[in-house]
């Protein structure tokens, strides 16, 4: 198939469609919770339009409802979104080829979902010069979907009482599971997942999602160490053989 910016853009949109399914209930609950949190409808929409970070927005309206100070909410947003630093670092080898305006646009729209599908596209070893258009397509469809369902949640608002108790957030969980599985191919990756999962349970009670960050960092370190141990063993075996 011939590569073109238009094809890449449309493929990026198409491949993101299954992920819209995971995001839509999340947007709907966010909108519904925002109404009851004391945030104005305008502000709730502005948050979706300009912050564009589902899990952080979700936690923010929870903190607003609980009467948390603004500074705490902003710090929590930082902690929850810190994983995006790592996503942008992972995409860096590809994105640093682009102009600053492209980088600004793609950075603004960077979410878990767009990262997952785009990283998959960048990994394919064809030499399409338009892979960033694929990421843009994924970004745009995620953005429109998110705006739409947040607005719908706001409009329905009080008509979805107890939205959280429905367990609609399960959609986000199964999406994240589908994103994690492709990584689990090597021993070090298995160790990463096991350590991150265990630590996340042990540190669950830390405030402001600090347990999540602790678990993620320890998981990464465990994976890196395992990889080192394996490569040292291989080196020794080779040496003994020779």
């Amino acid at each position: 198939m011939k590569h073109s910016s238009k094809n890449e853009f449309l493929n990026g949109m198409r491949d993101t469609i299954p992920l819209l399914l995971g995001a839509f209930p999340f947007g709907l609950i966010y909108g519904a919770l925002a109404v009851s949190s004391g945030l104005s409808a305008k502000a709730a929409l502005a948050m979706s339009a300009f912050v564009f970070a589902g899990s952080a927005q979700f936690i923010a309206v929870g903190l607003i409802a609980a009467g948390a100070p603004i500074l705490i909410i902003i710090v929590t947003t930082f902690v929850v979104n810190l994983r995006h630093l790592l996503y942008s670092a992972a995409l860096l080898p590809e994105l640093k080829k682009l102009s600053q305006s492209w980088r600004i646009v793609l950075a603004f729209f960077l979410t878990d979902e767009t990262f997952a599908v785009s990283a998959g596209r960048y990994r394919l070893e064809d030499n399409s010069p338009y892979k960033h258009w694929y990421q843009l397509g994924s970004s745009i469809i995620m953005y429109l979907n998110w705006q739409f369902w947040c607005a719908a949640g706001l409009a329905l608002g009080t008509q979805i009482p107890n939205a959280q108790a429905w367990g609609m957030d399960v959609a986000m969980i199964v999406t994240f599971i589908g994103m994690t599985i492709p990584y689990i191919r090597t021993k070090p990756m298995v160790v990463t997942v096991l350590v991150a999962g265990t630590v996340s349970l042990l540190t669950w009670q830390l405030p402001y999602k600090l347990g999540l960050i602790t678990a993620a960092i320890l998981g990464v370190l465990a994976g890196i160490s395992t990889e080192k141990v394996i490569s040292i063993k291989k080196y020794n075996m080779k040496r003994d053989y020779e």
Binding site: P18, L21, S40, K42, A46, M47, F50, V51, A53, A56, A60, I64, I73, I74, T77, N81, L82, R83, H84, L85, L86, Y87, S88, A89, L92, P93, K96, I104, A107, F108, F115, A116, V117, A119, G167, V170, I173, V174, T175, F176, I177, G178, M179, T180, I181, Y183, M189, T192, V193, V195, A196, G197, V199, S200, W204, L212, A216, G219, V220, I224
Partner: protein, 109 residues
């Protein structure tokens, strides 16, 4: 919340979120990350996502719940199995299976 406070809050969230997403890209012309660092970063997404998933599945209400009352559990197990069975369509398989199992356990059992 007053509208001034709303503006402060949202501006703060925008600055923090966008900075995290953009800062490495902004300066990548002047600094380059060592290759081994980029390789190590491959461990980050699975670690972060697992740290979000595991407590959400095993402690949905904030405390341990390993029973069929907890529909998240069979839903997650279904998503994991389906994801490994269909390696080429992992996302679609995990999401659809996870949601179907969840609905069945939650609303029909």
């Amino acid at each position: 919340m007053s509208s001034i406070n709303e503006i402060i809050l949202i501006s703060g969230m925008v600055v923090v979120t966008f900075s995290i997403r953009y800062i490495l890209l902004a300066f990548s012309d002047r600094f380059s990350l060592p290759e081994t660092f980029e390789k190590k970063l491959r461990f980050v997404p699975p670690a972060v996502l697992t740290a979000i998933i595991v407590p959400a599945v095993l402690m949905p209400g904030g405390s341990w719940d390993i029973s069929l009352q907890n529909a998240y559990l069979p839903s997650a197990v279904g998503a994991i199995i389906a994801g490994f069975i269909f390696p080429k369509k992992v996302l679609a398989a995990s999401i659809s299976t996870g949601l179907i199992v969840f609905v069945i356990v939650r609303f029909f059992l």
